[in-house]
């Protein structure tokens, strides 16, 4: 059986956001007749990646159960919006990465789940390229 199709769009197709920016967008869920949806969740989260265990922080979360989903509701785009927090910022480190995304998760009958992520950057931090360790005999000393 083919999975339902989920599409997520951020307003103005923005990829980059700053802390305290207003994040808004919408998503569509394209179901087929054989799909029986049990619940729907959409959230704005940050996730760690890399060598360590994955940590997830939930900034925004909404869940709609089957009873809350009126017929034909999912044929229309579902809007979401939130004000982004000040941290953590998107980060690309050596053994640790932090990424932000809007995640939509659909729970189908039979225990199946379908998930779709739409990534974006909240600020952007990286490993600094400057390393003055080589200049160890040239202290920047103002004594």
């Amino acid at each position: 059986m083919q999975d339902p199709l989920i599409e997520i769009h951020l307003e103005s197709d923005r990829e980059q956001f700053a802390p305290s920016d207003f994040l808004s967008g919408e998503f569509w869920v394209r179901l087929k007749r054989e799909h029986e949806i049990q619940a729907l969740e959409y959230s704005v989260i940050w996730i760690t990646e890399g060598k360590g265990e994955e940590d997830i922080g939930v900034h925004y979360f909404q869940r709609r159960n089957r009873t809350a989903l009126v017929s034909d509701a999912l044929s229309q785009p579902q809007r979401f919006s939130t004000v982004l927090p000040a941290s953590p910022l998107t980060y690309e480190g050596m053994i640790l990465k932090i990424r932000w995304c809007v995640r939509v998760r659909i729970f189908l009958s039979g225990g199946r789940e379908v998930t779709k992520d739409r990534e974006f950057d909240l600020g952007h931090c990286s490993i600094p390229e400057i390393d003055l360790k080589e200049q160890d005999d040239l202290p920047r000393n103002s004594e």
Partner: protein, 400 residues
């Protein structure tokens, strides 16, 4: 010696005798003051020996007191003739307690002496400003999820407003080594007594130990005539005890010779792209061959591997802020300097979640001849930049 006193005393031998006593007392006072002030130990090598001798003597007094107390208490249990031995027991206990007290007081004085300089002066000012700093920092942290809170908030400094707190693990290292040394020494002493008794050494007190065995147990002597397990245990314990005492001395000498490090910052918490002034103060009584100050950013992750939980660390940024060679530390004259500290633009802020962490640290390392290497770490908090360049540029582009 008496003739130098002066003509007015020549006719009165009593006065002359008094003057002699006064002179000897003054000589002793000068000698004692010179010893306490370390005048005999001027120069780097002599200062080093001063630290060694002082710390070693203090530790030796303390350990001798512990040993004497254990021996005395062990033997006193079997004493059946209280007429004479009770007096000796009290005297020995008093001597033991005195040795322990003097040793401990001396160690405490050493630690206090090397660490008194800037800490105390800043403490008074710190109390006045502490509440204000606390409130500001708490307010800032509430708005910043995943940015870790300082375990110990900075206090007001002398030169700059924020004095950072170093890791206090050195003192715990000393305490644990003291405890381990005491336990090992006590066990070793008791085993030595048992072995000496069984092999016929020790004279009177060995006989007393035999009586101790009879008193402890109604049966005849639980200690066999040749307690080889005890001997084997003693043979294993002696190196362990020696090592623990050596380690204790080493910790004590390290603390006595290289005093506390303090750093103060012109502003706090720190922000990427910003430059700050930093004041460094290092107390002690040694000559450092080299003193380094580094700014470090470290990633730390934990993960499961089988049934083990492993932690991996990676230093992703390391910047030398200062290297100074030939730093002479003297009592009351700490090494003090001011340097610039810049957090790189677009650097990651401090971050902490359940299994992942990004930490910023100022690490001070120093090396002195014949001394253990010094390493002091100050964990600092870096907040996200107020104006993350990438995000703002994209906003502008999107609007246009």
């Amino acid at each position: 010696m008496l003739s130098v006193v002066g003509h007015c005393f020549d006719c009165d031998p009593t006065l002359t005798f008094d003057v002699e006593i006064v002179q000897r007392r003054q000589t002793l006072q000068r000698w004692f003051q010179a010893f306490l002030q370390g005048r005999w130990f001027r120069g780097s090598n002599r200062r080093w020996w001063a630290g060694i001798i002082e710390a070693g003597f203090a530790a030796a007094l303390f350990l001798a007191g512990v040993t004497l107390l254990v021996v005395n208490l062990t033997l006193s249990i079997i004493d059946r003739s209280p007429n004479d031995s009770t007096l000796y027991f009290v005297i020995y206990v008093l001597i033991s307690i005195t040795l322990i007290s003097v040793g401990l007081a001396w160690i405490a004085r050493l630690l206090w002496h090397v660490g008194v300089s800037a800490e105390r002066r800043g403490a008074i000012a710190a109390q006045a400003n502490e509440l204000e700093i606390l409130n500001e920092l708490r307010q800032a942290r509430d708005d910043l999820p995943t940015v870790p809170r300082d375990r110990r908030l900075p206090v007001a400094g002398q030169v700059f407003p924020f004095r950072m707190s170093p890791s206090p693990r050195n003192l715990w290292g000393l305490i644990s080594s003291v405890l381990f040394s005491i336990i090992a020494l006590c066990l070793c002493t008791i085993l030595v007594l048992i072995c000496a008794k069984s092999f016929g050494f020790g004279g009177t007190w060995v006989n007393q130990l035999e009586q101790l065995s009879e008193r402890i147990s109604p049966r005849k002597l639980p200690i066999p005539s040749r307690p080889w397990p005890a001997v084997a245990l003693l043979a294993a314990l002696i190196p362990a005890t020696g090592w623990s005492i050596y380690h204790f001395f080493r910790q004590l000498i390290k603390l006595a010779g290289i005093g506390p490090t303090s750093i103060e910052l012109s502003n706090y918490p720190l922000l990427p792209g910003q430059t700050y002034q930093m004041f460094i103060s290092q107390t002690g009584r040694v000559r450092l061959q080299v003193l380094d100050v580094d700014l470090i950013c470290q990633e730390e992750v934990t993960y499961n591997q089988g049934t083990d939980i492993r932690t991996e660390k990676a230093i992703v940024f390391e910047q030398r802020l200062l290297r100074r060679r030939g730093v002479s530390l003297e009592s009351g004259k700490p090494f003090e300097t001011q340097i610039e500290l810049q957090i790189p633009q677009a650097a990651m802020h401090s971050f902490s979640s359940t299994n992942n962490r990004v930490q910023w640290k100022i690490v001070i390392t120093a090396k002195a001849k014949n001394w253990p290497r010094l390493r002091r770490t100050f964990t600092i908090t870096v907040h996200p930049g107020a104006d993350p360049a990438v995000g703002k540029h994209e906003v502008a582009a999107a609007v246009s």
